[in-house]
């Protein structure tokens, strides 16, 4: 890891020179001393769908350590609008064909892949090969094998990798982690999370197309519920069982509508989750020996809300989760600070996803898991 840090530092020095020519995009903080640590890193968003448009790009406007430097889109009509709205030079605009030439563009430090799930692996690997740090939107991919390929490509290219797990940078999530870690309410015995919404939109959307999504509610929202079971206990599950429910097969033709899963944790806690594209559910409940912790809403863009059994509220000023997430990753690149959502975390969750699908195929059988501390980040 030392060599990666050195490489990153050298990169930063090199880009700092360019930075002086692009001050509008890369403000140098006042009082900056040695080095270029406060230079904002340039992010290119790959895929300009609703998440990029509604969350990532607006989040970057106020980010401290990174900014929206470029776009990669398959829809030429979007180019002009985005260039104007975010002051993006033409030189930083790519399509899916010429994307690999981004390697030559030193204004781009990070490539954030926000494409349909089945395209994550290809574009993350191409980004790594172009020498760019990579953020891969969740779910990391549609198989564990693809996660491995992404991780390997990033390691081989000596670039940093994180998964678009915005919750890992959210203060509500981190407050739960703190309360669990410090055993404020004793030992965790039971955790329950729901991550669901009701989908009634365009039946041709990519999320309902297995070839593009790789799965339904479990891949889209279920990874949040898996994550909150894990940060709610502070440990990885040692087994999982699961069930699938279908009530609107005409709409959910190819992808899972509702999945429930149950997990056992090594510290004696048990957990369950429900994820659905046909229900509301946005909750986390962490039950401890001496009390409980609750978030509701828990997995949405905020403002979130929480409370504990002692009658206190969990409350923080609202900030863009996406801004916090990308700033955390930029700082990780710049200073070697914690990577709150490393590739191993995305891979671990995909291992659990595959075990859940296996359990469903095998009629609800309990599937043992041997994850150790994979993907557990103890900040």
């Amino acid at each position: 890891m030392k060599s990666i840090n050195r490489r990153t530092f050298n990169n930063k020095l090199a880009k700092g020179v360019l930075g002086t020519a692009m001050l509008g995009h890369m403000p140098i903080a006042c009082g900056m001393a040695a080095g270029q640590d406060n230079k904002k890193l340039g992010i290119a968003l790959v895929g300009l769908g609703s998440y990029s448009e509604g969350q990532l790009a607006p989040g970057l406007v106020n980010a401290e350590h990174c900014y929206l430097a470029g776009i990669v889109t398959g829809t030429p009509a979007k180019e002009k609008e985005w260039m104007e709205r975010y002051d993006i030079p033409k030189a930083n605009v790519y399509n899916y064909e010429n994307f690999d030439s981004i390697a030559e563009n030193d204004a781009i430090d990070i490539v954030y892949v926000v494409l349909p799930n089945s395209m994550h692996a290809e574009f993350c690997i191409r980004a790594a090969k172009a020498g760019k740090h990579v953020i891969c939107e969740k779910p990391m991919a549609v198989s564990v094998a693809e996660c491995d390929a992404i991780i390997e490509a990033c390691e081989h290219a000596n670039v940093k990798l994180s998964v678009g797990y915005r919750m890992q940078s959210d203060p509500f999530t981190n407050e739960v982690k703190r309360l669990v870690k410090e055993k404020t309410f004793g030992d965790v015995t039971y955790v329950s999370s729901d991550a669901s919404y009701i989908s009634r939109g365009n039946p041709d959307q990519w999320r309902l197309n297995r070839a593009l999504s790789g799965g339904g509610a479990l891949l889209n929202m279920g990874v949040y519920a898996i994550q909150s079971n894990i940060y709610g206990t502070g440990t990885n599950p040692i087994s999982v069982s699961a069930q699938e429910f279908s009530t609107r097969p005409d709409y959910f033709k190819e992808t899972d509508e509702t999945i429930m899963a149950q997990m056992k944790f090594p510290n004696g806690a048990v957990g369950q989750l429900c994820t659905s594209h046909n229900a509301r559910g946005n909750r986390l409940y962490v039950s401890c020996t001496d009390g409980w912790i609750e978030l509701n809403p828990c997995h949405s863009y905020g403002p979130l809300a929480g409370r504990t059994s002692d009658g206190n509220k969990i409350s923080f000023p609202h900030k863009s989760q996406q801004m916090l997430q990308m700033d955390d990753f930029a700082q990780h690149i710049k200073t070697g600070s914690t990577n709150f959502a490393p590739g191993e975390m995305g891979k671990r969750d995909m291992i659990i996803v595959e075990a859940i699908y296996q359990s469903i195929r095998e009629g609800g059988k309990t599937i043992p898991l041997d994850l150790g501390d994979m993907g557990i980040v103890r900040a």
Copy 2:
């Protein structure tokens, strides 16, 4: 059923005569016109454990339609204390051997069996044979076969039967039923309930002894979670799967520690529950197409609390659930009003309990259920 009502009415007339000699126990309401409908019915508690002592007897003090008329105990030392505290005449005190002679005691209208689960069937049947109306504490018994035997005994003796499901008379529960029935938040799509507490007490308590309890968390608390899944959707499940978790086998030697179950309902809703003797959990979440309903706490003695997705609270003045439950049953006997917890309801829940244990034995397999509207009370 007509004949039962007639018989009950005749009984009441007969007992009204006695009532005048026992005004201290059976106050006649002012303004009472024809008949003896406002005479309080006499209840005998069978088993003077903590639930009788802490909940049922105090609940009866303020009941409007019934009162604590007698006791049946296997502990002679308790007799004097109870007689004094509740002004119970010696003639209304029985032990388990002479219990059947209660048939000759017209001061006792209702026998409430509050013994360990495996003793419910025997004493409910003996009570029915003695010509007394019966309240059987939950769970109704330790098998469906025993439920059938109790129901048959009560039908044969022409006496009324209800299960000690206090929640069915609770205003919070009934508010959820109303909101579900009136589709205030649209159609129910998902329901989740927890009914759990952490048991660390005397390892020799009867609840941990399978011969007396018939099972662990599922029989004790799980029936509440089953009930709230059912009243949360307004329908019986059409299938169930389940898992058992054990983390403290030294303490839970013979009985289930934690069980999770998943259900499908005929109206398209899905449900899950967790019941445990090793976790806190006292919640109901009903997720509908246009909003949600939540109770927390949900299954305890109150005061309960609830809220809905529109920001409103569910709130009622606190009353003893047990008082409401016994008054509802007394009114059912006196006037033919709704029996909110009939024997069929207890039997239905035991069918689900047996299916849950079957699913666990069969590795989490989904067990189909063919319950129709069994035990559903639409008031």
